[in-house]
Amino acid sequence: MNKRIEQVYALFAEAKQPLKFMEVCGTHTMAAFRSGLRSLLPERLSLISGPGCPVCVTANDSINKAIAIAGCPDTIVATFGDMIKVPGSTTSLERVRAQGGHVHVVYSPLDALDLARKNPDKRVVFLGVGFETTVPGVAWTIKNSAETGVANFSVLCMHKTMPAAMAALVSAGPIDINGFLCPGHVSVVIGSNAYAFLAEKHKVPCVVAGFEPMDMVGAIEMLLRQIVEGRSSVEIEYSRSVTPEGNLAAQRIIQEVFEPCDAMWRGVGRIPGSGLKIRREYAAFDAELIFSDIAIESDDENPACICGKILRGVKTPYDCALFARQCTPSEPVGACMVSSEGTCAAYYAYAKKRGA
């Protein structure tokens, strides 16, 4: 057996208790499934998936707003691909597009800005979805459109920040998370120091992990070592990318363009200080203000969908009556089934049946 995995078994035996580690990032969830990592780990050491898929945590209300904007005349909505299938209360961006609405899938906010330059008679609205990894690029794009005088570009800002959400999870209970596998690329930007309060105040061990399966095994080993030694601190396994301070240029541009605000997380609710909004200096690029008077559908979610509990790590997709029956990636009921990084989609692709 591989040396690292042997270490995990040895340390787990020493820890003498079942353990739950939460991987907060959707890319980790996918990597763990794709590589078969879960099946390599001790049975009573479970990986639970947290609220780290940005599309999945986007509240219904925000989806409804994006859909309403896509229906406005002379307007193009530009978005990352994962967003278009997400069901709002009655429809999705994909269906709006099929009915003639202008919805473009882009790879980067830069592509959305290009779209605005090429269509000066249209309003181009980029859907700002994502955590701290995505935010610096969107900030740069807003700044660049201000500097180069692109007046028909704006951003519907739904960005969220990770540490506040992790704090909400540990203080809400009743799940006991024995350790966090902290997100790799969010941490590139914010630095590992951002999690210090989780280790110090909440006494939860934190290790920033890279995205290779062996990175994750290494990070699990580091978490186990903290537990065996009875300490909780913030450590970095992904040292080829992450420093304690993070990317300062990226942090500066975030602060220049955005300011913190409260944000609604699907299934978790309102978390103070966990969102970002566009600063007043850049109000001309804030779709929230530009489209402030459009009518939005009320935010009904399918009551049978338990996405919210899954995002908090309290339930798994197997607990949902709709999973793999009425709810599949081609006909998703909830957001967790839509995004390729959603927990329900990952279970569907790799472990449709319990024990698979």
């Binding site: 591989n2 690292r4 995995i5 990032c25 959707g26 890319t27 996918m30 990597a31 794709r34 590589s35 078969g36 390599l40 940005p54 990352f80 994962d82 790879y107 980067s108 906010p109 830069l110 592509d111 994502g130 990894t133 995505t134 610096p136 690029g137 740069w140 790799g184 690329h185 590139v188 930007v189 890279g210 995205f211 290779e212 399966p213 062996m214 990175d215 080829r240 990318s241 990317n247 240029a249 990226a250 541009i253 390729s340 990084e341």
Partner: protein, 82 residues
């Protein structure tokens, strides 16, 4: 969302650069990383380089991939993350 494969800078023009990821070329913004140079290995997210990797980091990455392949012979090769 997170692409954790390093790309290589092949040319730079102001704040933008052309990068090469396993043969695919693309334009990205490099002004969020300190002192970008042609030949640097960078991690890219949605059109922006967010970090640099040293040669040693690239070697570590390749080592981890080899290690995983030895654990599970049938494991699929590493593809880009969505």
């Amino acid at each position: 969302m997170c692409l954790a494969v390093p790309a290589k800078i092949v040319s730079i023009d102001g704040e933008k650069a052309i990068i090469d990821t396993e043969g695919i070329r693309r334009e990205v913004v490099v002004s969020l990383i300190p002192d970008p140079k042609v030949g640097d290995h960078v991690i890219v997210h949605a059109g922006f380089a967010i970090q640099k990797w040293s040669e040693a980091d690239v070697a570590e990455f390749n080592g981890l991939m080899d290690e995983m392949r030895s654990v599970e012979p049938g494991a699929p090769g590493h593809g880009p993350h969505e």
